[in-house]
């Protein structure tokens, strides 16, 4: 008779099932085939006939295998084991590394099973690590998007910015005449282009709108090596005044404002009151110089009379192949110094500087990002120390299991590998969860840092971030897995089994745990000190008096197009009307305007004081220059200190007057009365402005820099086409927005009001980057504090559980509860204290790294250090107290009976 089991086994392949399951199925099928055979024999069939009858029962073995597998899926073996089998199969013919891989996979599966049995431990560990890895991946994705990703132009490494360097101010915008000379004289650049970013009014299908634009040299797109997807870029002739009535649209503008109309080329649109022909559309994803520029027009410079004293251009260039930045820098410097000699009146002492474009964009943010990145790495280290401690505790509880496995033949290497497998499973799970956290955090980071971190919209989870998270997880798994693995190698078989089964810890383990805890506390102190320093300087910064009262004020901009308002009196008439209408609104208590707004605009002019000897060219004093309406001071709440501010009588034909601020008076009239003195502003030929009043200082450059001397003149005597308007309301300024739009449209339907925002936002925007760094570092410090507290709690609680008997004995021989409390809390606090001391020393050593981010707080600010140490010790005491209470409740009788 046939061996039916062998028969079934040779035909039925069930690779997906566990071996036990497979043999049960084989056995049963064999039994049934045997029944068929016996029945046939009983009916009188010959052996051969009966055998054939039984064999016929299963015709399609593959189908059978499939049906059995489907029915028996709950017993399917994990794929990972099948993979390990295959690798091991391959290993027999190849070298040893494969064997380790196969073992590791099996160990990881074993680890998963073990971890599933301890869900509390697993959840705490994975969450702890996920917090760390998530925070690191999030910050790395910012570092990656902002600092590491190349700029979105072909061959971005060749792109540089070229600046003028002015002795008083350092890097400076470029004057058109200088740019033309640079273009003509340099031999280091393939192309060099100038641009001026601004905004313009575009009359679209839905009325006039203010859009961001840039006037660019004709070959800017060629320089950036990006061609239009539709139409053409500019030609050289279009740079000539009068020929420049052409524009190129961004993809976004083409889609949004013109519905992606494919026949858009050649259409004429109204741009700032003048007709312009659309000649091209740029590809999606292209942006220059800012992400939201919607259209480009040729930058026109009159070659006959280019200005050399007005600095307003940005200059971009592409190095010739083989020319280094240093070589480019050297030549540009030579050219600039030659021009300085040639045109002493405007260019005296000037030089030029070449900076890589990428560096120019992100250089300023690099220190802050690197600080945050360092902080987040510290968080990961703390998480590692924490988890290593948890694993150590777990390993010592499992000493017996490990000893038994060693006894039945597992080598030391195998045991270490097994511990590592467990930590890798934990860290990889945490890595996955951490990536999810990072993904969820990115939009918040982008919102929080909008406008304060360049390129932050480029931040995304890409392959590099994925690789980073994976490698971090692996590294983290190995780092925190080493401690328990090390402890395993020290476990001696006899020792553990002799100890009667209760988990015990070698003194080495205890030292390791204490060391890790001290490290954790120390690292948390470093982070907390950093965060406290930033917090305190942010508090100082935001309590700086800006020099005006921002609450209840709405600000917006108006820019009058040259064609519709060609003459000063046209502009004055418009603004007179607008101010009157605004003041007539019931919600508005006062209104005013200025041409360059605090923290938003920047405008300074040189001047001379009547009766003083003239200064040398390029060395005369300069000051902030503000053109303001009479109501400006009252609306913003800038206090009048002496004399008077402007009135409606300070008109075009009235005597020219000026108001200065306190800083101006102190700097330029230290021992004199400035009232009545004359100022020649802009060193023009307009005559002298008579100083009629002194007002309070305003932080025009931002809260973190000292107020610069400022001079104000009445708007009717020096009108600008673009002005910032301010309206003080008796309610929520944001609710005035639509009324303001309507008011402007009533005067000129083709004119949009833009950049409408409450003044308080202007101030909070100006500190956005500091707030970003502070908040992030604060969050990291809190995570660190939390982790340290959990770690301390874990270690003390474990110690208490290990010492239950000892505590029982102590209480039995007369120790009272407060002694126990002292002993337990004291033990934990000793560790915390050592950590605090080491951490404080560490913080002192690295604090200068954040020095650049501080405001009026030194990196060694004693308050911050004391506050931090006190906070940490308080939290530590709490973390020790909870397990100590448990120790106090130990019943000596119960504890002693346990032994």
């Amino acid at each position: 008779m046939r061996n039916w089991e062998a028969f079934v086994r040779s035909r039925l392949t069930l690779p997906g099932l566990t071996p036990e399951r497979e043999s049960r199925i084989v056995r049963e099928l064999a039994a049934q085939l045997d029944d068929f055979y016996r029945e046939a024999r009983a009916r009188g069939a010959s052996e051969a006939e009966a055998d054939a009858h039984a064999c016929r029962q299963i015709g399609d073995w593959d189908r059978m295998a499939q049906d059995v597998w489907l029915a028996d899926r709950p017993h399917a073996r994990p794929r990972i084991d099948r993979l390990a089998d295959r690798i091991e199969g391959a290993a027999e013919t190849r070298r040893g590394g494969w064997k380790v891989m196969a073992d590791l996979l099996r160990d990881m599966r074993y680890a998963v099973r073990q971890l599933a049995k301890a869900p509390g431990f697993t959840v705490v560990t994975v969450l702890t690590l996920a917090l760390g890895i998530g925070a690191t991946s999030a910050i790395f994705s910012v570092v990656n998007g902002v600092l590491l990703q190349p700029l979105p132009y072909p061959d971005p490494d060749g792109l540089v910015r070229v600046h003028e360097v002015v002795p008083q101010y350092g890097r400076f915008s470029v004057a058109p005449a200088n740019f033309l000379d640079w273009r003509k004289q340099n031999s280091v650049f393939e192309r060099i282009a100038a641009y001026a970013a601004g905004s313009t009014t575009l009359a679209g299908t839905e009325g006039p709108e203010r859009v961001l634009n840039a006037a660019v040299s004709w070959d800017t797109f060629e320089l950036l090596k990006v061609s239009p997807v539709l139409g053409r870029s500019f030609t050289e002739e279009e740079e000539m005044p009068g020929k420049a009535n052409v524009i190129v649209l961004s993809q976004g503008a083409w889609q949004r404002r013109f519905g992606g109309d494919p026949s858009i080329l050649g259409r004429t649109v109204n741009v700032s009151g003048a007709p312009a022909t659309i000649v091209g559309v740029m590809p999606a994803g292209f942006y220059f110089p800012t992400r939201d520029a919607e259209l480009w027009m040729p930058l026109t410079i009159n070659p006959a009379n280019p200005p050399r004293g007005a600095h307003f251009l940005g200059v971009l260039a592409r190095r010739k192949p083989g020319i280094s930045t240093d070589q480019a820098q050297a030549e540009m410097k030579t050219i600039a110094e030659r021009l300085a000699v040639q045109y002493p009146a405007s260019n005296a002492n000037e030089s030029a500087e070449v900076v890589l474009l990428h560096e120019q964009i992100v250089g300023a943010i690099r220190p802050a990002l690197m600080t945050l990145f360092a902080a987040v790495v510290v968080v990961v280290l703390i998480a590692c120390a924490n988890v290593a401690n948890l694993l150590l505790v777990r390993a010592s509880v499992r000493e017996k299991e490990i000893a038994i496995r060693a006894a039945i033949g597992a080598g030391r290497r195998r045991l270490v590998l097994q511990m590592l497998a467990e930590s890798l499973v934990l860290s990889l799970a945490a890595g996955g969860l951490g990536l999810l956290l990072a993904y969820l955090a990115i939009p918040s980071i982008q919102t929080l840092s909008a406008g304060s971190i360049p390129r932050v919209l480029d931040v995304a989870i890409d392959l590099r971030v994925l690789a980073f998270a994976f490698i971090t997880s692996l590294a983290v798994g190995i780092v925190f897995g080493l401690a328990p693995a090390w402890q395993v190698t020290r476990t001696t078989l006899g020792g553990v089994l002799k100890e009667g089964g209760r988990g015990s810890s070698s003194s080495g383990g205890r030292w390791l745990r204490s060391g890790l805890l001290i490290l954790e506390v120390a690292l948390s102190i470093v982070l907390l000190v950093g965060a406290t320093l930033l917090l305190r300087s942010f508090a100082r910064l935001t309590s700086v008096d800006p020099g005006f009262r921002p609450e209840g004020v709405l600000t917006f901009r108006i820019a009058l197009p040259q064609p519709s308002y060609p003459q000063p009196h046209n502009r004055v008439a418009f603004y007179d009307t607008l101010l009157n209408k605004l003041e007539a609104l019931p919600q508005v208590t006062s209104a005013g305007m200025v041409q360059a707004f605090p923290m938003r605009g920047d405008y300074s002019l040189s001047f001379a004081i009547q009766g003083r000897p003239p200064s040398k060219p390029g060395e005369g004093p300069s000051a902030n220059h503000r053109v303001a309406s009479p109501g400006y001071f009252a609306t913003l709440g800038i206090p009048l200190l002496r004399g008077r501010t402007f009135t409606d009588r300070d008109s075009e034909n009235a005597p020219m007057v000026a108001v200065i601020d306190e800083a101006f008076a102190t700097r330029h009239f230290p021992n004199e009365d400035p009232i009545g003195r004359g100022l020649d502003i802009g060193n023009g030929t307009d005559g002298f402005y008579e100083i009629v009043g002194i007002v309070g200082n305003v932080h025009h450059e931002g809260l973190d820099s000292d107020p610069l001397p400022t001079m104000y003149v009445p708007y009717r005597q020096d009108i600008f086409s673009g002005m910032w308007l301010v309206a003080r309301t008796n309610g929520d300024p944001a609710q005035l927005t639509s009324t303001v739009r309507q008011t402007v449209r009533e005067i000129d339907p083709a004119l949009p009001a833009f950049s409408i925002s409450p003044l308080e936002n202007v101030i909070s925007d100006s500190v956005a980057q500091r707030r970003f760094s502070m908040l992030l570092l604060g969050v990291f410090a809190l995570i660190a504090l939390f982790l340290a507290a959990v770690g301390l709690y874990g270690v003390v609680a474990y110690t208490v559980s290990q010492r239950t008997q000892e505590i029982g004995v102590r209480m039995a021989i007369g120790a009272d509860r407060s002694d126990v409390l002292k002993m337990v809390v004291g033990g934990g606090m000793k560790l915390a204290l050592v950590g605090v001391v080491i951490g404080t020393a560490g913080a002192l050593a690295v604090a200068r790294l954040v020095a650049a981010m501080l405001f009026e707080v030194t990196p060694f600010d004693p308050t911050s250090y004391l506050l931090t140490a006190a906070t940490l010790l308080t939290i530590a005491a709490l973390a020790c107290y909870v397990p100590a209470r448990r120790a106090m409740r130990v019943d000596p009788v119960v504890a002693l009976r346990q032994s």
Partner: protein
């Protein structure tokens, strides 16, 4: 005799009902179905065996290896209490279904 489509829906119920009285082994179940239906219902091993596995994995029946005197060792399946509940359910549904079909067909 009957199409496999028709039989498919009732295999599980037939197996469960045969196990109601006492535990039986796989071969016996196949033979019983054939015998009780007068040869009109026949389930081949490739259909019957996966059904047993499926029912066991659902916890409706439970197999045990038993060696009876003079016989070779076999796996006997018995109905679990959950299986018993399912059988009662299915029986009720089946009767209602047959009645409804009969109504429609005018049998």
């Amino acid at each position: 005799m009957f199409s496999s489509e028709l039989k498919k829906g009732s295999t599980e119920m037939l197996v469960l009902s045969l196990l109601e009285a006492r535990p039986r082994h796989g071969y016996e179940i196949g033979k019983l179905i054939e015998a009780r239906s007068g040869g009109r219902l026949k389930f081949a091993l490739p259909t019957l065996y996966p059904t047993l596995l499926r029912l066991e994995n659902r916890g409706w029946i439970k197999g045990r290896w038993v060696e009876k005197a003079g016989e070779r060792e076999r796996c006997f399946y018995r109905l679990t209490s959950e299986g018993r509940r399912m059988l009662a359910d299915q029986r009720k549904t089946w009767k209602a279904y047959v009645a409804a079909v009969n109504e429609v067909m005018g049998g």
